[in-house]
């Protein structure tokens, strides 16, 4: 699977290199000039409001767009890695940018890592832990892309946001 992606804005410091203080609104002329996807901002807003609460500032908008891109690609790659028999490799679009712009890249024009590039380190780890939600069932998966068998332990816990453990368990894992 290749050439799939989702846009994010570049990091805030990179946005600051092309947008003056008065231009720091996602829909300003300058910001739209640095967004070449015809429906780019609309898609970002639609997906963002599916997942997150409205950001309270332009800086928070940039942060959320970065997180949204990372989460979207993580979700897809984890799914495909759980189904290696159907999709035995993925390559997201795209690595980097040729100018400072909202884009599908995981590294921006100045070489600064977007959230996606950090997430890629995790979702492309040779041994991947992922959780599949099939309500009311939650499945824990281990995907092993090493040439040798991996052995370890998976520990799960049902916790409140404050960290109170409601239930927990542990299972040995052998992933070929």
């Amino acid at each position: 699977m290749s050439e799939f992606g989702f846009q994010a804005f570049p990091t805030m410091e990179t946005v600051e290199s092309y947008a003056a203080l008065e231009d720091r609104n996602p829909i300003s002329y300058i910001m739209e000039h640095h967004q070449r996807g015809r429906h780019g901002n609309g898609l970002i807003i639609a997906q963002m409001t599916d997942a997150f609460r409205m950001p309270v500032s332009f800086t928070c908008w940039i942060y959320l767009s970065l997180v949204l891109q990372a989460e979207g690609i993580r979700y897809g790659v984890e799914h495909w890695r759980r189904h290696m028999n159907r999709v035995s490799g993925t390559l997201y679009w795209q690595l980097d940018d040729c100018w400072p712009v909202a884009s599908w890249s995981s590294i921006d024009y100045f070489g600064r890592w977007k959230a996606l590039h950090y997430a890629a380190q995790r979702f492309y780890a040779p041994v991947l832990l992922s959780v599949e939600d099939n309500p009311p069932v939650v499945d824990i998966h281990i995907s092993n892309d090493l040439t040798e068998t991996w052995e370890g332990v998976v520990h799960w816990s049902l916790e409140t946001l404050a960290g109170e453990v409601v239930d927990s368990g542990e299972l040995p894992v052998t992933a070929a």
């Binding site: 990091t11 410091e13 990179t14 409001t49 599916d50 997942a51 997150f52 609460r53 409205m54 950001p55 309270v56 500032s57 928070c60 942060y63 959320l64 970065l66 997180v67 990372a70 100045f110 070489g111 600064r112 890592w113 959230a115 950090y118 997430a119 380190q121 995790r122 780890a125 041994v127 991947l128 832990l129 992922s130 959780v131 939600d133 939650v138 824990i140 281990i142 991996w150 052995e151 370890g152 332990v153 998976v154 520990h155 799960w156 816990s157 049902l158 916790e159 946001l161 404050a162 960290g163 894992v173």
Partner: protein
């Protein structure tokens, strides 16, 4: 919350909420960061008082710095250690002053 372990090492962990993230009643995670300089490297040990999602670290004035990890979840009772190279001519004190840490909570609560 799931964790993958091999011996004493935590290989990876994953937070899986049962509702869309926008409906999680996140509160201020009151992140605590212990910053240390170790030769030419900075290390940041992070803990949280409540679940923090998508934790972002920045060093003001050094946007090119690549951290060992960013935008990770931090549940209560776990410690995450992140490292980065010490920017040229920086000291531990300057790094502590320049450090900015955000999480998802700040994006809608504004603090």
């Amino acid at each position: 919350m799931t964790e993958l372990r091999q011996g004493d090492e935590r290989v990876s962990f994953s937070v899986h909420p049962f509702v869309p993230t926008k409906h999680l009643d996140l509160v201020d995670p009151k992140l605590v960061v212990d910053v240390r300089e170790d030769g030419e490297q900075l290390s940041f040990q992070l803990t949280s008082q409540s679940l923090a999602r998508f934790v972002e670290l920045k060093l003001d004035g050094a946007p090119e710095v690549v951290f060992s990890d960013k935008y990770f979840d931090l549940p209560v009772g776990r410690t995450v250690v992140v490292t980065c190279p010490l920017p040229e001519k920086w000291t531990e004190t300057r790094a502590k002053d320049a450090l900015r840490v955000y999480s998802l909570y700040a994006s809608f609560a504004g603090k």
